[in-house]
């Protein structure tokens, strides 16, 4: 075992002693651990700096954000930006934007969970004619860039008179149009032992029973990762709401955020950043509550059944 060299030992030291973990002194171990932690903390600092900058800036007056101001903290600490942010825009309260975002995000989670799990069950467990063709087609939609379908989709919804409603934004979720989630669940289900549903079939269970009583409970990790991703993607979606919503009262947060910064007039960076901080909270909470399942959900995907 000579693969691990301690970073404290210069490589030029001669003659190179054969590394033996057992003979390593407690002191060397401690140095190694300290160095590891310092490096890790430094990296964390680099990664987290933008978030820290955002939070710090939300308490600064507008004229001290960005530009020639490089200090992180300001002596003019105030909550004014949050007050402006909560004032709303053009007569629509910020609470309304939050509610709209929540409706869309929860709608997306419910729709995706319901539709993707059922579709995945069909692909993974039911042998029907053309199954592999349909599966291939579903995967093919993953390769289709979103921008290709924008216009045709818009025309369809426009002709149906559904523009300026939440239907164009949510209907796809309820029809399992998010191929990524269907695929994720199919892969998960394929890894579940077939003996389980065979046993259930012998006991007289039909597809509905097998799905609800056996598959769904076992799929919890996949369902949770799907919820988390689906929630975050919907929460952050800008283009969809931009194209389909016309009434400011129906706007979700990402649209509202942009309205504080107008390059053609004056920009209120302070209010925008304060609102970003607020907009981040629900996602952060959602993530913190469910994060251990994310790792579980994704890592189980890789296991061979």
């Amino acid at each position: 075992m000579t693969t691990m060299a301690t970073p404290t030992k210069p490589a030029a030291e001669a003659p190179a002693p054969v590394y033996n973990p057992k003979s390593e002194s407690a002191g060397a171990k401690r140095t190694k651990s300290a160095i590891f932690h310092i490096v890790a903390l430094a990296l964390t600092g680099v990664v987290l700096y933008p978030a820290l900058w955002m939070i710090a800036s939300s308490f600064k007056p507008n004229s001290e954000i960005g530009g020639a101001n490089t200090s992180l903290w300001s002596s003019n600490f105030s909550f004014d930006n949050f007050v402006t942010a909560m004032d709303g825009i053009g007569g629509v309260s910020t609470l309304q934007f939050f509610t709209n975002s929540l409706i869309l995000a929860i709608g997306a989670v419910v729709g995706t969970i319901l539709s993707a799990s059922v579709s995945a069950y069909a692909f993974a467990r039911i042998k029907f004619p053309g199954r592999s063709v349909f599966f291939g087609m579903m995967i093919a939609t993953l390769l289709l860039p979103f921008h290709v379908v924008i216009i045709p989709q818009y025309i369809v919804f426009q002709q149906l008179g559904l523009v300026d409603t939440y239907i164009p934004l949510l209907i796809g979720k309820f029809l399992a149009a998010d191929a990524f989630f269907v695929f994720l669940m199919v892969q998960f289900m394929r890894n579940l032992p077939a003996e389980l549903d065979e046993a259930a079939r012998i006991d007289g269970a039909g597809h509905v029973r097998i799905f609800t009583s056996i598959m769904l409970p076992l799929m919890k990790p996949a369902l949770i990762s799907t919820s988390i991703f689906s929630f975050i993607w919907s929460w952050n979606d800008f283009l969809g709401p931009l194209l389909y919503l016309n009434t400011p009262e129906k706007y979700p947060l990402p649209l509202a955020l942009r309205l504080f910064v107008d390059q053609t007039q004056s920009s209120d960076y302070g209010a925008m950043i304060a609102m970003s901080v607020l907009a981040l909270l629900p996602v952060l909470i959602f993530f913190l509550v469910f994060q251990r399942y994310i790792v579980e959900g994704v890592s189980t995907q890789g296991l061979k059944g």
Binding site: N62, S63, G66, G67, A68, N69, I89, G90, G91, H147, I150, I151, P152, Y154, I155, Q158, Q159, V163, F238, L239, L242, L243, N246, T247, P248, L255, R258, L259, F260, V261, D262, Q263, T264, Q265, S266, S267, D268, A271
Partner: protein, 427 residues
């Protein structure tokens, strides 16, 4: 911001499919409303919270005076605005009335997306005749300017005073202007630079071309100037690059999205006069002043009023008359002027301008435009299709030049190649 090529493909794709769909339905008859049963028109604009608030007031006033029309307002930020319009244009769902930007006028006008406003009743008597052509393409009026802006040199009197530099009076040629920049840079001692490289700004180049009696674009949408003109222009500040007279490109990039002037890093800035409010807010300065741009010809400053925005209507609107009445109201009514002040630019219609009281910052901008009145020439026609890309590449190439990656000759070659390719593509 959505880039031009993507925009064009989107619209082209969409118009094709929309045409197919449109062929299926007969045009709906024009509707008229009454107080009991009002017609509804959609109006959309870009802008911030402040503009949303002002527009809401203007709409309320309009609805009060026109009981037979209801106006549904909606707004987005500038970049999102054009993404949304491109999709709607493709789907045939453009709003009845739209706030419009000069650089998008030709794209939409040529594709027959906009209503010819010459066919409806909008009063343009109170408009300066030199301004109206900017909303017209081949004799058809697609946009009515709401307000104007003009090019100017900004400076902060307090900063100049602290350095012991006399305030400029705005009668200067390029040599004198450069000397002024160098003086500010030298006395600024690393803390304050003279200005940003004004030769990197397309519109300032356009002003200079006009000072030399050259049109930027020919009638048939080609470039009206030569590579030598461009080299001459970029050589104007060749001696200043890399000196304290001009802030370095690295610094400009660091400061983005704020401007160096707004960040109190430069003493002057050459840009549109309606940036005043933004600069005041960004810099926290007590007072900023405006003077005319330099010119080597004392009698020809090359200045013009550009519509800061226009009002346009969709070609497919079912309520032409209601749309026309709303546009007329927004551009002419003095009370609307009182609501917006100069937040859209200086009101273009004389009726509206005279009916508005300007104070403080607003007054500075209005007074500036009054002071240059005798130098004003015709406003530019809507720029060629793909102008946004040209303008952006002008800025990028000039910035590469300031980084020292390109020589003036190399930069001129690079930009001309891009420009000619683009014009060929869109021809």
């Amino acid at each position: 911001m959505i880039d031009r090529r993507k925009f064009l493909t989107t619209v082209a794709l969409g118009t094709a499919s929309a045409a197919v769909l449109a062929a299926c339905g007969a045009p709906a008859p024009a509707q008229t409303g009454s107080a009991e049963n009002p017609v509804t028109i959609n109006y959309t604009w870009w802008g911030n919270d402040d503009r949303a608030e002002r527009t809401r007031k203007a709409i309320a006033l309009f609805e009060e005076k026109n009981k037979d029309i209801k106006v549904n307002g909606n707004f987005t930020d500038f970049a999102g605005y054009w993404q949304k319009r491109a999709t709607e244009a493709a789907g045939g769902g453009l709003p009845d009335v739209m706030q419009f930007d000069l650089s998008y006028m030709r794209d939409y006008g040529q594709r027959n997306q906009l209503l010819d406003l010459g066919t409806v009743k909008i009063n343009t008597d109170a408009f300066d005749k030199s301004l109206l052509p900017s909303g017209q393409i081949r004799g058809k009026t697609y946009g009515i300017p709401t307000s104007t802006n003009a090019f100017a040199v900004y400076y902060d009197p307090a900063k100049l005073a602290s350095l012991g530099i006399a305030e400029p009076d705005g009668t200067w040629n390029y040599d004198e202007f450069n000397k002024f920049l160098a003086e500010v840079g030298a006395k600024g001692n690393g803390a304050l630079f003279g200005g940003t490289d004004y030769t990197g700004v397309w519109w300032m180049f356009n002003v200079w071309l006009r000072q030399n009696n050259i049109e930027a674009f020919t009638e048939d949408g080609k470039l009206g100037f030569t590579k030598d003109d461009l080299k001459k222009w970029w050589n104007l500040t060749a001696d200043l690059r890399g000196t304290p007279a001009l802030v370095s490109e690295e610094r400009v990039t660091q400061l983005a999205p704020k401007s160096p002037f707004g960040s109190n890093v430069t003493g002057t800035e050459v840009t549109w006069d309606n940036f005043m409010a933004g600069y005041l807010a960004d810099s926290g300065a007590k007072e900023l002043k405006l003077v005319p741009v330099p010119s080597d010809d004392k009698d020809n400053l090359g200045l013009f009023l550009k519509p800061s925005m226009l009002m346009a209507a969709s070609a497919k609107t079912k309520n032409k008359d209601a749309a026309a009445r709303f546009i007329d109201f927004m551009v002419n009514d003095p009370e609307v002027g009182q609501i917006f002040k100069t937040s859209r630019g200086v009101p273009a219609s004389k009726t509206q301008r005279d009916g508005t009281t300007f104070e403080g910052t607003d007054k500075l901008v209005v007074d500036y435009e009054k002071s240059i009145e005798k130098y004003l020439k015709d406003a530019p026609e809507p720029p060629i299709v793909g102008f946004g890309t040209l303008e952006a590449s002008f800025k990028r190439v000039a910035s590469d030049m300031n980084y020292g990656k390109l020589t003036v000759d190399g930069a001129a070659d690079a930009w001309f190649k891009e420009a000619e390719d683009l014009i060929k593509q869109n021809a």
